[in-house]
């Protein structure tokens, strides 16, 4: 196995590493960087649990090669809150009881971040469409949809 050099930004931090070619992005995040907030569940990119943003677009980090983030910017769940303060999306998840076991939660939050950047005031249908690739086994989804819609309102109110 030949290691490949990777220079990337993860949650705003410059990272230069040499990684094995077949290492997945989620292995890189969890094992190399210790960012264990990103979880693995299906390994087939059909559950959304491992979602992270690469250049602000959501991808399944279980099926994305670490070498392929060279020159790109990665955002994980650890990079969502800032200055020790929960992001309004995170706060909305808490307030709406939009998590139980929490294993799917980082993936949903990353999708919500990407959605609200792309469509700041989504319709319920747009939220549903955007979240169709994220499985939650605990909640039944209603609370998650409400949290995302409420987060959109909170973000709008927060921005001038």
């Amino acid at each position: 196995m030949n290691p490949v050099g990777v220079v990337t930004q993860v949650n705003g931090r410059e990272i230069a590493r040499s990684v094995p070619a077949r290492m997945t992005l989620v292995e890189f995040l969890r094992d190399e960087l210790g960012l264990t907030g990103t979880k693995v569940s299906c390994e087939l990119q059909v559950c959304g649990v491992c979602t992270v943003l690469v250049d602000r677009k959501p991808v399944s980090s279980c099926a994305f090669l670490a070498v392929d983030i060279d020159g790109r910017e990665v955002t994980t769940i650890e990079g969502v809150a800032s200055d020790g303060k929960l992001h309004p999306i995170q706060q909305a998840f808490i307030d709406h009881f939009a998590l139980q076991c929490g294993f799917c939660t980082p993936g949903f939050v990353m999708m919500a971040v990407a959605l609200l950047e792309e469509v700041p005031q989504p319709t319920p249908e747009q939220v549903v469409s955007y979240l169709e690739g994220n499985i939650c086994r605990c909640t039944g989804y209603r609370s998650i949809l409400e949290a995302v819609l409420d987060a959109a309102d909170r973000l709008e109110r927060a921005s001038p």
């Binding site: 907030g37 808490i94 998590l99 929490g102 294993f103 499985i135 086994r137 039944g140």
Partner: protein, 748 residues
Amino acid sequence: MTAPPSTTLTDHVTGTVNGIGESTVRPDGIPKLQGSFAYASDLETEGMLWAATVRSPHPHARIVDIDPGPALAIGGVHAVLTAEDVPGRLLFGLEHPDQPVLASDVVRYWGEPVAIVAAEDPETARIAAAAVTVEYVVLDPLVDPEEADTRDEVFRRIRIRRGDQDVRGSVVVEGVYEVGMQDQAPLGTEAGLAIPDGEGGVDLYATTQYVHADHSQIVASLDLTAEMVRSHPTGIGGAFGAREDVNLHIHLCMLALYTRRPVKQVYQRSESFTGHVHRHPARLRYRHEADEDGRLVRVEADVLIDGGAYASTTSAVLGNACYFAVGPYKCDNVNVDGVGVRTNNPPCGAMRGFGAVQVCFAHEAQMDRLAAALDMDPLELRRRNALATGDALATTGQRIDTPLPTREVIDSLVAMPMPEDDDSEDPLRLPGGTGLTTERRDVRRGVGYAFGIKNLGFSEGSDDYAQARVLLSPQGAIVETAAIEVGQGLVTVVGQIARSALGIGNVEVRHIDTSRIGSAGSTSASRQTQLTGGAVLAAATALRDRVLTEFAGEYLDDDGVWRDGELVVPYAELASGGWEETTTFRHPPTEEPDENGQGTLHADFAVAGHRAIVDVDVGLGLVRVVRIDTAQDVGKALNPESVRGQIEGGILQGVGLAMMEELIVEGGVIRNPTFTDYLLPTVLDAPDVEALLIEQEGSWGPHGAKGVGEPPTISSTAAVAAAIREATGLALPRVPIRPEHVALEGGV
């Protein structure tokens, strides 16, 4: 040895003191939302090795030889262990030990563990596992449950005979029903970390619902004293029954003790599907007899569930299936013959609803058939037979002495407003979803009702208890428990109970290991709010009373003890006094059944009802579950939003069983052990849910609370099936209902 980063899970909760009935938010929400909450799969420590499992590729075979040589020759491989290396009892099992920790002579199901490997990294471990050479002689697998019954390959038979064998009804309906093998599919796979203590003992941090049951099985198989093994609660990514049984627990401890290194393992998804038990598939034969007025006079049921290769909880699941075979209805003459068979199919055990789900699908279909035969409104039929407090349970004859609002559940569900007709052509609101298969013109709407009942807590004479400790520390009050939080919200409700009993707002819940507290029992059977909640209430109340007595105080709060409007003992002083109270809470005792299956077998019951509204594309057999309305008997909702979360999530698992969730087992082999082919409902498959909580206090749970976790899953499946029957006129005697079951029988 270095301890993992989080040896004690703590959840710091603050909130209103008299918060019972308020929707306090989860204390573990913040770390879970920031990615800092440590699940079992996130734990690590220095010098850690990784484990992998060698599993049988055959459902039934004799092991001729296991050669670890090729695996041991791989660089970085530290151990390959087989059955010969199990220091103590070879067998484990939740109810009785019959399952080998590692198969020694015969493998009895596809995926059965044969050897375990520890290596420097997970990939090397997996390569090494693949390199272990196992020579098998393949044997014929027994995979037909009916044949197993005939051959008397059984874990348990139950024979219920109640009432007069000669009483017959004038209106008779019969049916045969089938339920497929559902999987719990928690999103976190099995994971654990075992750390040797350097003195011959071991600490285990692993996914579980029941640390004390793990502990006793580990101790037996390792041949160690109880003190030498400590089983620790850790972060769990869902459970739903999949984590009651031991899987990687003993393996990791063996490898850690052998290598003298910490050993970690995380199952991949396909291994998870073989690594835990599933919901029992069932075949159910029913005969209902009623008089002309629709009163049930006789119910006969044959209940056959396939336990697979090993016992797990099959005996208890069969008990539930038989005892709740009639549903929440009165009937004086009941025969039930139940059998849980042993086959070479995957082992089955606990899943949310635990036997009540399978029979509910059948008894509710029967009630609808009976209503049709009587030409009676199916809801009126159910009202006439509704089981109430003071009645006898139809199967066991147990007099029900806690509130059982079946009638209220029926009436309030019926009274809930129906949704408007939908004329939307938005594909997201149509069967087939994004596949664009269906237009509104292709759709028929159906409405179906179903009602279910289940026991709460352990039954049939189990000594069911939970221990909890409450203490006053300088940081605030602390609740200590070994009860497992799997996501359901125990940690929230226990904090609420402690705060309200103590009067102290600042409460921390600590999940501590088996050496530091007695068992809380399993996080299953909808029992923790009642049992651990009961223990916390009792401990907190006793502690407060002792403190107030000691200082002649009137009340206690975060500032300390008060009397006549004055603070007489500041909290800091109180906190240095070593105040603590440990309480063991038991629910009312239950009995074992007599030879006719009669007796007071259960401590408490809950009923729930579901109304499903479905849109069916009859031509293609595609279904969208539009909405599910539900009324549920909850005793007292200690945290209404958490209860709602249980209801909505439980309903979706019921919808999953009705529509898509099934492990396809052919010749003993699981054909779909991935999330590509074992389909879980997505957000597009999730119905709107309206929930009504029926509160009738009087149960022995804290503040009258009942367990709420399982009822949502029991009758939701049956309600969806009933709604599809109404839309199509088809019999649909099996779940999951697949497109071909609707389209090919219904025609275009």
